[in-house]
């Protein structure tokens, strides 16, 4: 963002001029009685933005702005946004430009919302607390606020980052409408209580539940990110120990997901199958590294030890309840349809569906990626090989589904950023004969 395009600068300047024009009537016609309300709301908004930025909350203090729009004249309501937007910290440079942009954008949006609300006679319904009729002007005002905000945002995205305009704008609008509607409800309640005999104290109480809601939401996102990082770390530990090409687990997860989608499974099951693919070899953490990386053929005893890894893996993941049927997939992904697989030698329909999916995905990735003991084969050759083994080793249904999915979307295994930049020097490793063929 160092070099902001000149067009974007001009755009920001235009919007700032509009904002100044919105604020101008204040000089002429400000009623002295509303000054303290403006000051109180502005202070509240500024404090809220500061706290939100420091605690990394998602969302901003729109309820205060919208309450202002429902209570005050358009220029006064617009003024409420100015101090908070100018003071609050911004991410990235150029700082001044970004601050000016945020302030002018909010001023214009709040002014438009207050204007629409006033034109529909909203201020009288708020004073008379005339429900449900107060909802209509408030709804219109919230819609206007959201429209103006996202339209201005779409403009700056188009000019500075060359995002295609209409699609970007529609996405922005749909994503922000629901949260802003909830904020609008809170703002309406604030406005109604402000005008009631109980005064501004009661109005301030409305903000407390909103704050807690944001806090919980932020906590949820933090915890979820941490959880996913933990699972990734687990998987990477296996990949490093095993000495396969990195990312095998992630790719098997992706192939499992493609098969599941093609089979028309419900979204939750697709997600669970992705996890099944990612975690299928987690039991290799329990197999001595020496064995996994052994150069040359394995003795029968050594092979027996390695063939314990599905059971080790199941032992590890069986306590993680959200994995559901993925746990069965971890245990049974080396079973074969003809009953010659391991650990239990299950046959045909005895093998859980999830395991049959992961078995195909695992073999497919093993064939199409370069291993120290074999070169990568083209996708079409791998699919033909799978079809040859369908019925004896693999479930034909899964093989057909994979072939169809690859045919339709191609096979572009996503290489995540950290894997791409720290490409490891692969240690010489003899793979696990029999594990993938």
């Amino acid at each position: 963002m160092e070099a902001t395009p000149a067009r974007a600068r001009v755009y920001v300047a235009c919007v700032a001029l509009c904002a100044l024009a919105c604020l101008l009537p204040l000089l002429a016609t400000a009623t002295p009685t509303s000054w303290w309300a403006v000051a109180l709301l502005a202070a509240l908004y500024a404090a809220g933005e500061q706290i939100a930025a420091r605690r990394r909350f998602v969302g901003t203090f729109y309820p205060v702005l919208l309450a202002g729009a429902f209570l005050l004249s358009p220029p006064a309501a617009a003024l409420v946004a100015v101090p908070g937007a100018l003071i609050a910290p911004v991410g990235g440079r150029p700082r001044l430009l970004r601050r000016v942009w945020r302030a002018s954008q909010l001023v214009v949006a709040v002014w438009a919302a207050a204007r629409v609300h006033g034109a529909l006679g909203g201020r009288d319904t708020v004073v008379a607390s005339d429900f449900p009729y107060a909802l209509a002007p408030a709804g219109a005002a919230v819609l206007t606020f959201c429209l103006v905000l996202t339209a201005l945002d779409g403009g700056i995205l188009k000019l500075s980052e060359r995002v295609p305009g209409r699609r970007a704008w529609r996405g922005l609008f749909l994503r922000s409408l629901a949260p802003i509607a909830v904020h609008g409800l809170a703002g309406l309640m604030m406005a109604v209580l402000w005008r009631s005999p109980y005064g501004s104290v009661a109005a301030l109480l409305v903000l407390l539940p909103m704050c807690v809601s944001w806090w919980v939401f932020a906590q949820y996102h933090r915890e979820r990110a941490a959880h996913q990082a933990t699972i990734r770390a687990l998987v990477q530990a296996v990949d490093i120990k095993d000495g396969y090409t990195r990312g095998h687990s992630e790719r098997v997860g992706q192939a499992s997901m493609m098969i599941a989608r093609e089979l028309g499974l419900a979204d939750e099951r697709v997600e669970v199958l992705r996890f099944a693919g990612i975690l299928h070899d987690v039991g290799k953490l329990g197999v001595p590294t020496r064995l996994l990386r052994k150069n040359g053929p394995l003795t029968p005893e050594e092979r027996q030890v390695i063939e314990l890894h599905p059971e080790y893996g199941h032992e590890m993941v069986r306590g993680i309840s959200f994995l559901g049927e993925a746990r069965a997939a971890v245990l049974h992904h080396h079973e074969r349809l003809d009953g010659t697989g391991y650990p239990y030698g299950l046959m045909g329909g005895q093998i859980p569906e999830s395991a049959r999916v992961v078995a195909v995905a695992d073999a497919f990735d093993a064939m199409t990626s370069t291993r120290s003991y074999s070169r990568a084969r083209p996708v079409s050759v791998a699919l033909r090989e799978l079809e040859k083994c369908a019925g004896s080793q693999f479930d034909p249904r899964m093989v057909t589904a994979l072939a169809r999915a690859v045919d339709r979307y191609g096979w572009h295994p996503a290489v995540t950023a950290d894997e791409a930049c720290t490409a490891p020097a692969r240690p010489p490793a003899a793979g696990v004969p029999g594990a993938h063929r």
């Binding site: 109980y198 539940p209 809601s213 949820y220 959880h227 933990t230 309840s321």
Partner: protein, 418 residues
């Protein structure tokens, strides 16, 4: 995870007192309301429906905190309801108790059917709502608060703060008499929870009462929306916390499966460390860090080429212990758990005056577990004695003392993981 106290005789006095008073209040309100009949049926019905919905969407959180914010807020606002759209209401304390009790019972039916405990929750709800109603309704019905304006809002807030304190006290007392954990830290955790979700519940209760006074019953559906969203994200937060905990516990099993440590070692150390931490008065957040650190304290051994015999790290030379601890810290840092956990794991082998409390606890408990494991019937006592003697350098005296207390409370058996 909680230790099962071995003396399960008669229920403690405190528990009986709380349950009896709740039952008396409930019976009194029901009888009184049956005798007088319901005032303002529409309002009673609306609030009753809201409380029922709140209870239906309740879930039993992992930490037993307020899990039905909507139900609690609706019940409290009914207790503090003075006017409806500008017209004064006439329901008294007894009607508040009866409506809230009936609605809560109705909302609890699915929970009872699934065999979840609801008795404590109901007792708490009835007593706190009763408290709020007793503070507010008689004075209101005498007309004391007429024309107070903004003071009226502040009054509601004051009553709710008192109610929240009373609720925290009640919750801590119930938890104390159920688990025998020390009362002080339990109360502190409850008060901390009150600051978070509790304050939202109180504020929503007050705002709902005020909003209904201004705009009538329309305020109820409008206002429950934000709270319902909070409830949903709280629920998802609890779910993700649970899965996270399970994932960490599974990660900890990697060392057992790889044959570095005996089966169940990490889980036992974690459970016992949590007990000791609770006995020493750590907060809930500190207990979580302690538990994660205890679960992963051996994970550094995954980086070793040869397993330590029987995973007994406490017998190794200090230098070696420190090396394993640093390796473990490095592994833990990669797993994305809070950085405090990695710090605790890294400093497990430091001299104990320099260690954080959590590291002292994990170190002492780990040593106790390793010493007592295969030592037969007299093992636990002997192991504790060895720790006491080693106290000067390696193990913090207050931690060993607390460990002895916890173990004697649990009759020197392994804590049962809950």
């Amino acid at each position: 995870m909680s230790a099962a106290p071995c003396t399960t005789g008669t229920p403690p006095l405190l528990l009986t007192v709380v349950h009896t008073s709740a039952a008396l209040l409930a019976a009194g309100s029901l009888l009184g309301t049956l005798w007088h009949g319901l005032d303002e049926r529409g309002i009673a019905l609306a609030f009753g429906v809201l409380v029922t919905v709140g209870e239906l969407t309740r879930w039993t959180g992992a930490e037993g905190r307020e899990a039905a914010p909507l139900g609690a807020a609706a019940a409290l606002s009914y207790a503090l309801l003075g006017e409806d759209g500008g017209h004064p209401t006439h329901h008294g304390v007894l009607q508040v108790g009866a409506v809230v009790l009936a609605a809560s019972l109705l909302g609890s039916v699915p929970h009872i059917a699934r065999g979840r405990p609801v008795l404590d929750h109901l007792a708490r709800r009835v007593l706190t709502v009763g408290f709020a109603a007793v503070c507010f309704q008689p004075l209101y019905n005498q007309g004391t608060f007429q024309g107070w304006g903004p003071g009226y809002a502040l009054l509601l807030l004051a009553v709710l703060v008192l109610t929240a304190l009373c609720d925290a006290l009640l919750a801590a007392a119930l938890a104390h008499s159920r688990t025998r954990w020390p009362f002080g830290p339990l109360l502190r955790d409850e008060l901390r929870a009150t600051l978070g979700i509790g304050s939202a519940v109180c504020a929503t209760g007050a705002v709902m009462a005020l909003a209904v006074a201004v705009v009538g019953l329309w305020a109820l559906p409008l206002f429950s929306l934000p709270l319902l969203l909070t409830q949903m994200s709280l629920r998802r937060y609890a779910a993700v916390r649970t899965t996270y905990r399970q994932t960490i516990a599974s990660l900890a099993r990697a060392t057992e499966i790889a044959g570095y440590t005996p089966a169940g070692h990490a889980r036992r150390v974690a459970a016992l460390s949590r007990e000791v931490g609770r006995d020493l008065g750590l907060s809930e957040a500190e207990l979580t860090v302690l538990e994660y650190a205890a679960l992963m304290h051996d994970i550094g051994q995954l980086s070793l080429v040869d397993p330590v015999p029987a995973g007994a790290t406490a017998e190794l030379p200090v230098e070696e212990q420190r090396r394993i601890a640093l390796l473990g810290g490095a592994v833990v840092r990669q797993t994305g758990v809070p950085p405090q956990v990695a710090m605790v794991v890294e400093r497990l082998a430091d001299p104990c005056p320099e260690q954080p409390v959590a590291a002292r606890i994990v170190r002492a408990v780990n040593a106790y577990e390793e010493k007592a494991r295969d030592a037969g019937p007299g093992g636990p006592l002997k192991a504790l004695e060895e720790l006491r003697l080693g106290t000067a350098g390696d193990y913090a005296p207050e931690v060993v003392g607390s460990l002895a207390r916890v173990l004697s409370r649990d009759c020197l058996t392994w804590p049962v993981a809950g």
